[in-house]
């Protein structure tokens, strides 16, 4: 199969599904005469997207910026924490289980605390995004570093490698495929974190981010605008996921098969 045909066969089925769902949704809303504030038809969502396009574009940019910042912090800190933990068994045993807290404590419960510490505004949004996204990065860094080939470990030990050399030249490169998987998961979570952060740390200014657009439109019963904002928020998640996936494909080209 040619490359072009592979892409078509990958892209076409989900597109067709989306199209069918939109058509069915449009048909069902008009057939059952569902009121617009409960479930607006896709055509009205599209109209809302179009009429508020400039504002929505800026809102999306703002949310996307916070998401990207949160993701970047989660990625950097996650790899650093995961690596530090794997440097010592004691640290790993003592601290690694506690990092599960990032996973266990619901973000909505700690988000108000973030507001107290960081105030209303983008800092809280970025922090919320980083807090939910960091756990899979830590877990996959630790997991990846644990799965280093023992034969290669021995080679490095015999060659008199220092701990730092072992980490930079063996541990980290071995862990890359696992870390990349963690980053993919983190990309989706970072978007969720940012939107939740915007819900609680609602900051206005000239341009409201998507989370605020959602809460404000809800209050005004402009359900079609809620849908428009949700669609854009998913787009942010997809875009980040796409960028991370593309980068990881580049990074993993050398890892196609181990000898």
């Amino acid at each position: 199969m040619s490359r072009a045909r592979t892409i078509v066969s990958l892209v076409l089925p989900p597109l067709a599904t989306v199209l069918i769902v939109i058509l069915a949704w449009e048909g069902a809303v008009s057939f059952f005469s569902v009121p617009g504030y409960l479930l607006p038809p896709p055509s009205r969502v599209a109209a809302a997207l179009w009429s508020d396009r400039v504002d929505l574009l800026w809102s999306t940019a703002r949310t996307a910026g916070a998401t990207a910042a949160g993701f970047a912090i989660a990625a950097t800190l996650g790899v650093t924490i995961g690596s530090t933990l794997s440097f010592s068994l004691l640290l790993e045993r003592g601290i690694y289980p506690l990092t599960l807290l990032f996973q266990m404590v619901p973000l909505v419960a700690i988000a108000p605390l973030l507001v107290i510490w960081l105030g209303n505004g983008p800092n809280t949004v970025i922090a919320a995004s980083a807090v939910v996204a960091i756990f899979p990065v830590i877990a996959n860094t630790v997991g990846g570093l644990r799965s280093t080939d023992p034969l290669l470990e021995e080679l490095f030990a015999i060659s008199g490698a220092t701990r730092w050399q072992r980490w930079t030249r063996l541990g980290l490169p071995s862990a890359v495929p696992s870390i990349v998987t963690g980053l993919r998961i983190a990309a989706g979570l970072a978007t969720i974190g940012a939107i939740v952060g915007e819900f609680v740390a609602g900051f206005g200014g000239d341009v409201a981010p998507l989370g605020i657009v959602i809460t404000a439109s809800l209050r005004e019963f402009r359900t079609e605008k809620v849908f428009a904002a949700v669609a854009l928020a998913s787009l942010v998640g997809f875009a980040l996921f796409g960028v991370v996936s593309a980068l990881s494909t580049l990074l993993l080209r050398r890892y196609d098969a181990s000898p």
Partner: protein, 264 residues
């Protein structure tokens, strides 16, 4: 050039299991010694002890410069070659071969040159920019050998290095290894299961009994030449025969009596 090794009464216990039961072994500087014995007899254990990877339970192990001066294992410039090539999958051949120099803090320019040189000695230059996944088994082993040789070792420890290769590739690498060992003068100690390989490569073949290992034969090899044709010569076959007989006798003796004979 090469480093001499002398082992006195080497013993090794793993828990209750006795692996080495008092081994005496002398390896002359610049010589090639092959260790042969049944699987699990402790050959690899001895090799790793000589390399300073594992400690002996008791016994004496001395590495010496050709002048007779004792050396620490860190001064002896030891390199290992394992059965698995142990290459880093994300690095090219060139960068894999540079690794030992990189770990030793050699400058980038110098290690590039030295690695290229070692790669060309292993006749792998055209594959220098490929990753291990793109190489055949024989080429991976060549890369591993180049990595072992790049540090200019004075003692090369080979643990069954060509065991996973096909026969033709194995013969080819045997010959190249021997040529390099003769020209560079390092001492080589080889663990192998192949009697013909041991006889072809070594100046001396040392035969171990089943575990706990004792030394049962030390056969000095004298061959008329060292090219491939020698493998069918009478001298070659006589040596293989003697080593094989000693090995089989040791295996038979180690078997519980009345339990039938050893099989080949």
């Amino acid at each position: 050039m090469g480093v001499g090794v002398s082992v006195r009464d080497a013993r090794k216990q793993f828990g209750a299991v006795e692996v080495l039961a008092g081994i005496h072994l002398d390896v002359e500087p610049g010589s090639f010694v092959a260790l042969i014995g049944p699987s699990g007899c402790g050959k690899t254990t001895l090799l790793r002890a000589i390399g300073g990877v594992d400690a002996l339970t008791s016994g004496e192990l001395v590495l010496r410069a050709p002048s007779g001066k004792p050396l620490q294992s860190s001064e002896a410039e030891i390199a290992f070659c394992f059965q698995e090539p142990r290459l880093l999958p994300w690095r090219t051949v060139q960068h894999n071969v540079e690794l030992p120099l990189e770990l030793a803090g050699v400058s980038a320019a110098e290690r590039g040159d030295r690695a290229s040189d070692a790669i060309s000695r292993m006749r792998l230059s055209e594959a220098a920019d490929r990753t291990p996944a793109q190489l055949s088994g024989g080429m991976r082993m060549r890369a591993a050998m180049a990595r072992a040789l790049v540090t200019k070792p004075r003692l090369l420890l080979l643990d069954e290095p060509f065991g996973a290769l096909d026969e033709v590739t194995r013969y080819e690498l045997d010959e190249e290894l021997l040529t390099l060992q003769k020209s560079e003068g390092f001492t080589a100690i080889l663990v192998t299961h192949s009697l013909p390989e041991a006889v072809f490569l070594a100046d001396r073949v040392v035969v171990f009994s089943p575990r706990p290992a004792r030394l049962i034969l030390s056969e000095t090899i004298e061959l008329p030449s060292h090219d491939d044709s020698v493998r069918t010569s009478d001298a070659f076959n006589r040596h293989v025969r003697r080593v094989s007989d000693a090995l089989h006798q040791a295996i038979r003796e180690a078997m519980p009596t009345g339990n039938g004979g050893a099989t080949t």
